[in-house]
């Protein structure tokens, strides 16, 4: 059975094509104002890589904050939309069958999900605050005048702990500016930023409880500076699967293949 999952996220659209449980193709691109257009382009790239056309896909399930924009709308014409929580759990379970706690940190939201056999038992979402999401790191990178992809490696060079109390993206930015003026190194500031977001995410995840195995997914999982402070906060080893940013799209494709649906 060939299915597809399309994750229309806050910053990136991702598509995964799955055949009998194996990934045939994946693609991602930044989303613009036209969510349907962005998602369609990504979907077409994935189809092309797999050497397929839409008619070869038996079912498409969408997820992500823009999931409803692609339901029953060509060229994707997703048959169903599911929430990010459900797709993240299904995808994480597919790649790490021992997953019990899934932490999904994307551009706009952070989520902690308690999982049992791929099904959601409980979840918590970072509410109305960018301080627990990838946007936080991006904003701080701008303040530090470094590329966002350099933030993680920079932070790993620091051995100092600088408390950054700001739990708000806006206030954190002024705190970063103060640290720069205090001649604190960019490495130390970057580590402080990663410690802060790890603190924010861990306090949220602890509300649903942490049970091994803990799996980290979403775009922020690509940041090498995030795993270490998060493990320290949660007092648990964290598994980051290959292609963590695609896990929700993968989950949507897995759900599409589920006979129960």
């Amino acid at each position: 059975m060939i299915t597809a999952g399309v994750d229309v996220g806050a910053k990136y659209a991702k598509a995964v094509i799955l055949k009998d449980g194996q990934v045939m193709a994946r693609a991602k691109a930044l989303v613009g104002f036209d969510l349907l257009k962005s998602a369609a382009e990504v979907f077409e790239v994935a189809l092309k890589d797999a050497g397929l056309s839409r008619s070869d896909i038996q079912k498409v399930v969408s997820t992500g904050m823009g999931r409803n924009t692609v339901v029953q709308k060509p060229p994707i014409s997703a048959e169903e939309a599911v929430s990010e929580v459900v797709s993240a759990a299904a995808g994480a379970y597919h790649v790490v069958p021992t997953a019990k706690t899934v932490i999904d940190v994307g551009a706009e939201e952070g989520r902690g999900i308690k999982v049992e056999s791929g099904k959601v038992k409980d979840f918590v979402i970072n509410e109305r605050c960018a301080a627990g999401a990838g946007t936080f790191i991006e904003a701080m990178a701008r303040a530090l005048e470094v590329k966002v992809e350099d933030m993680g490696p920079l932070s790993l060079k620091s051995v100092n702990t600088i408390p950054m109390n700001a739990q708000c993206c806006v206030f954190a930015e002024s705190e970063v500016v103060s640290l720069i003026h205090s001649k604190i190194s960019k490495e130390d500031i970057s580590k402080a930023i990663h410690d802060a977001i790890a603190g924010r995410i861990s306090s949220m995840v602890l509300r649903v409880g942490v049970e091994k195995d803990v799996v980290l997914i979403g775009g922020v999982a690509l940041d090498p500076g995030f795993k270490q402070p998060l493990e320290k906060e949660l007092k648990a080893n964290i598994i980051i699967p290959e292609y963590p940013e695609y896990v929700s799209a993968l989950g949507a494709a897995v759900i599409a293949a589920s006979p129960a649906r």
């Binding site: 904050m65 999931r67 409803n68 339901v71 029953q72 048959e79 169903e80 939309a81 599911v82 929430s83 990010e84 929580v85 459900v86 759990a89 099904k119 959601v120 038992k121 409980d122 979840f123 979402i125 509410e127 109305r128």
Partner: protein, 449 residues
């Protein structure tokens, strides 16, 4: 926008007494506004106050209860926004009780809102304040009202009853010294009422009002008990428009008469299998006041076939219950004999009020969790939606503990942040997205758009 699924549909029809409810509430607000034109008296105080007591001053004594008024303001978001601006401009922080701020804002603006959203000029000042101290905000609420009215040139006398005697633990009988403490204050209060109004107090009217209050609150419990039926004859969104009569006029004969009519109609709906939500297939309860400006969340839930059948708040703010040894709730039976004297009436109403289930919010999180578990079991509930209500510290205190307790008991719980009276603290889109995720996690799919 999940793909739609087909489910069995129950018959459904509107409540016949709906218009009666609307008119009762409309008249209540208008009666207060026009009380002086009819030679009557106006008093202000909380919905928890012993409203039977001022009833002894005469049948032309009209009240405005603060929390329902604050909720009414919240429902009309434009006016609520103006009230918030006014209170904040006057120096009050937005972290205070949202009902209280809406009420103060209405005075500061010198406007009064009616049930259809009409905003009239001139906030009607009360002739006296009759309040009780149920939470940290209630005591200060009317102290500030008195101060605000004084600034408007009216010296409003105020009497407050301290009710901080706890909630009879484990459903045991109330202790006499606690009852006497409150009865003593009410006796003092009657003397005070005579003094500040210049009216002679009528004990017969007091006995009638106490009797009405006990009957009304027992009847509301009967209505709620009927909602154990599957399908539920009432949904909580509608119940809000019905329980409110008990928060406005629980001591009045119109309230008793309305609840009798409602009880009979709901009984008939149960008998005929009439559903509030025709696609009912998932039953939830909520907790604390809802975000009044966003009751549409209940309609969104219906798209999944989910119906809220009530809450400890909806059942217990007005409804009076008796708990059987196995934890089962039954409507609290009204004593066989109506009180005949002032002392009997005061003793009776204090003992009655001390058993209001809603006290559990303030005093005992473990007990509240147990009570919610009982509701879950008895009302055949699938999940609990907990409103982390930033607008009410009193009813939100311990709510995170309730979440843990319910989850330990195996009850799925969906917490969401909001505010009963200040729309700035509620994120409709975000809440709906999370609620969708929650429903999906329980296996529900959307039935319709």
């Amino acid at each position: 926008m999940a793909s739609a699924v087909e489910v069995k549909e129950y018959p459904s029809e509107p409540l016949k007494c709906w218009d009666q409810a609307k008119n009762l509430r409309k008249n209540y607000y208008e009666d207060y506004l026009h009380a002086h034109e009819k030679g009557g008296l106006r008093w202000a105080g909380g919905a928890w106050s012993f409203s039977s007591i001022p009833a002894g001053l005469g049948e032309d004594v009209y009240c405005i209860t603060g929390e329902p008024y604050g909720a009414t303001v919240a429902f009309f978001k434009d006016f609520a926004s103006k009230c918030h601006d006014a209170t904040e401009a006057a120096g009050f922080p937005r972290t205070l009780c949202a009902y209280m701020r809406n009420y103060w804002g209405s005075i500061l603006l010198d406007k009064y809102v009616l049930t259809d959203g009409t905003v009239v000029d001139g906030h009607p000042a009360p002739d006296f304040i009759w309040q009780d101290h149920i939470c940290c905000s209630h005591a200060k609420w009317y102290q500030l009202v008195k101060w605000l009215e004084k600034k408007r040139g009216k010296d409003v006398p105020m009497f407050s009853v301290d009710v901080s005697v706890g909630y009879p633990s484990d459903f045991t009988p109330e202790e006499d010294y606690k009852v006497d403490y409150i009865v003593g204050q009410l006796n003092d209060g009657i003397e005070w009422l005579e003094k500040v109004t210049g009216r002679k107090y009528n004990d017969q009217l007091l006995c009638d009002a106490v009797w009405n209050e006990m009957n009304a609150t027992s009847l509301w419990a009967e209505v709620c008990a009927l909602n154990q039926a599957v399908p539920a004859p009432l949904d909580e969104k509608s119940m809000y428009s019905l329980y409110v009569m008990g928060t406005l006029m629980k001591h009045r004969p119109e309230c008793v008469a309305f609840y009798q009519t409602l009880r009979d109609e709901v009984k008939d709906r149960v008998k005929r299998g009439i559903a509030a939500v025709s696609t009912e297939r998932f039953r939830v309860i909520t907790d604390t006041q809802p975000p009044w400006g966003f009751l549409k969340i209940f309609r969104e839930m219906e798209k999944y076939g989910a119906v809220s059948v009530g809450s400890l708040y909806t059942f217990g703010l007005i409804g009076m219950w008796q708990y059987l040894p196995d934890g089962t709730w039954i409507p609290k039976p009204v004593p066989p004999k109506k009180p005949q004297t002032r002392d009997e009436a005061l003793q009776t109403i204090v003992r009655w009020t001390m058993h209001k289930p809603e006290w559990a919010h303030f005093y005992q999180p473990e007990l509240k969790t147990k009570m919610m578990e009982s509701i879950v079991k008895q009302w055949k509930v699938d999940a609990v939606l907990l409103h982390y209500n930033r607008g009410c510290e009193g009813l939100s205190v311990h709510i995170a503990e309730n979440r843990l307790g319910l989850m330990e008991a195996g009850v799925p719980v969906f917490p969401f942040e909001g505010n009963m009276g200040d729309e700035r603290d509620f994120d409709l889109t975000g809440t709906m997205a999370r609620l969708t995720a929650f429903f999906e996690s329980t296996g529900l799919k959307k039935l319709k758009e």
